[in-house]
Each structure stands twice: as C-alpha cells, then as structure tokens.
C-alpha cells in the first residue's frame, strides 16, 4: 500500500540501522548505570522522572501510561514495585473515584537525585561527546519531527500483505 516494489536505498538503511543501534547501545549503558546507582529499570526511572516533573509530583495512572506506552497492567505492576520501595504512593483520586493518583515521595526524589549525575555523565560520554553543538540541534529537530509523526500515526494494520497468520490472531492495534 506504500510502494509497489518496496525497498530502501542505502541512505535509508543506514539511517534506520544507525537509529536502532545507537539507541540500543545508549539504552543499554543507561540501564546499567541506573541499575547500579539506584536499582532502577529504565521504565521505573522514566516513571519517577515524569512524576518528578509534574506539578504536585502526581499523575493519574492513565496519564502516566500515555507517556510511557505501556499496557495498563504493566503500569500497575511497575507502580506496585515502586510503591513497595516507598518511592511512590498510590491513592484514590478525590474527584473521580475510579482513578488512582500516583505521587512521588521524598525518598523517590532522593533516588532520582542520586541517579541523575551518573545518568548525565553517561549521556555526555556516550551520546554527546562525538557530536557538535549543531549536530545535537539538528538531531533533536529531526527526531522530534519523526517522533511527533509516529505519535500521530495510529499503528494501523501496517501491511496486511499476505500475513498468513494462524487465522485466530487478532489484528488489533496496540
């Protein structure tokens, strides 16, 4: 539906591989640092950081999930894990009794603070070191456009081309 004889040219291939590999290597390094410095997985760090940046250090479960892709159950799992360590609290919302408000605790903020310096050091050493200031600007611009586009584009049945699945699989998006 996109092209009759689908193929990528060398430049596109290069961009794709470089994107996957660079982000993979970076994430790997960052995850290791987060684990060592604060015993946090990347997702847990993202959740804490998101809460830390929020107005009252709070977010509804649903809003949190929007930012971090997850399935609801996956978010519940992570929230439980963080709550056990007293890094967040969960309380029923006052306005809507159905929803749960997640709030970062002082201890949660402390862990964030403990983890940040090393986190930034990894980024500096691994991602920014080989790039010029203008490289970083350009990168930010291009990738932000790509990201925004992906966010807008619903993962519709991307290519139903002879998928040949066991005829029992649902085609649901996300």
């Amino acid at each position: 539906m996109t092209s009759p004889r689908p193929s990528l040219d060398a430049t596109q291939l290069g961009a794709y591989f470089a994107l996957i590999e660079a982000s993979s290597l970076l994430k790997h390094a960052v995850e290791q640092q987060l684990r060592e410095a604060g015993d946090l997985s990347y997702v847990q760090f993202q959740l804490l950081a998101t809460l830390g940046d929020s107005p009252a250090g709070s977010q509804r479960m649903t809003d949190l999930a929007d930012g971090v892709v997850y399935s609801r159950s996956g978010l519940t799992y992570q929230a439980q894990t963080l709550e056990k360590r007293d890094l967040v609290t969960r309380t029923p919302s006052s306005d809507d009794e159905r929803s749960t408000t997640v709030t970062i605790t002082d201890e949660g903020r402390a862990v964030l603070a403990r983890v940040f310096p090393g986190h930034i050091a990894v980024l500096d050493d691994l991602l920014f070191a080989p790039l010029s200031r203008s490289d970083v600007e350009t990168l930010a611009d291009i990738l932000a456009r790509a990201r925004d586009h992906m966010r807008q584009t619903p993962p519709r049945s991307a290519a139903p081309r002879r998928s040949k699945k066991p005829a029992g699989t649902t085609d649901q998006a996300r």
Copy 2:
C-alpha cells in the same frame, strides 16, 4: 567526573528524549509487524537478517553475538528457538571443533522474504514519511558517528559516584 555540576541544556535534553522516544515507538511498531507477519521477535529477525546477508548464510555463534549484543546463553536460546522452527541449522565447525556454525535455511529465507515488505512499509510510513531526503542523510551521518563512538567506548564504570551498591555487585562491563 565529567562535569562538576552536571546538567543538560534544553537542546541536549530534546535530542535525548527524541532519540529514546522515536526509537522506542518505531521498534514497537516494527516488532508488532514482525510478530504478525512472521511470528518473529526483533532479535530473531536481526539474527535471520544477519545470516541472510552473510556469505554462505552462515556465521559462528560468537560472531553473531558480537553483532547483536547478547550474552552467549541468550544467543543459544534464540538459536535453539530458530532451529526448532527449522529457520536455521546448527552444526559444529569443521576447522575449530569448539565452535558452532549457524546457517539460515531456505525456510528461514522464506520467512525473511515474507516479512520484508511489511517491515519496509512500516519504516516508510513511520520513520521516513515526515523526513526529507536530506534529513535522512543527515540523520544517518550523525547517528552513525554516535553509534561508532559508543562501540569504541567501553562501558567503563560510567559514574561510580556514591553508587552505594550492596557491596557484592560486580562492576563488570556488559
């Protein structure tokens, strides 16, 4: 040890987030497509594709692992999985009896072929659609530099700053 008062400016933050988010969204979409079209995980696809591009469709386990980051046991696991589906074969190497040669089968190539069109369609729709030709070139250039740098840079103890670990954890790289 990289900077006294570590922090990132807005542009750097933007580049970092955009990189993580864009790659995450893209990988997610691609994984879904690979799963639906060929029941492959991303790693499995990478392994098959790597073998498909290799001279005789073969690689030693160790060489395969180099390209796809893994722990040896993780690669063994994936190789077993692929072998069960007859997408690869594993045979002891003739020159060095210790090593195992992994080879893609005709059926493995067939799965690759079945999966490719949709794979490319996802990339076109999600990653390349919002970018100009020169964007893609620039992206490829910058990210390739970043990736090469990360490959060269050993994940040395990135930030031993008050890591406060249980005093039993090793600091080993990778």
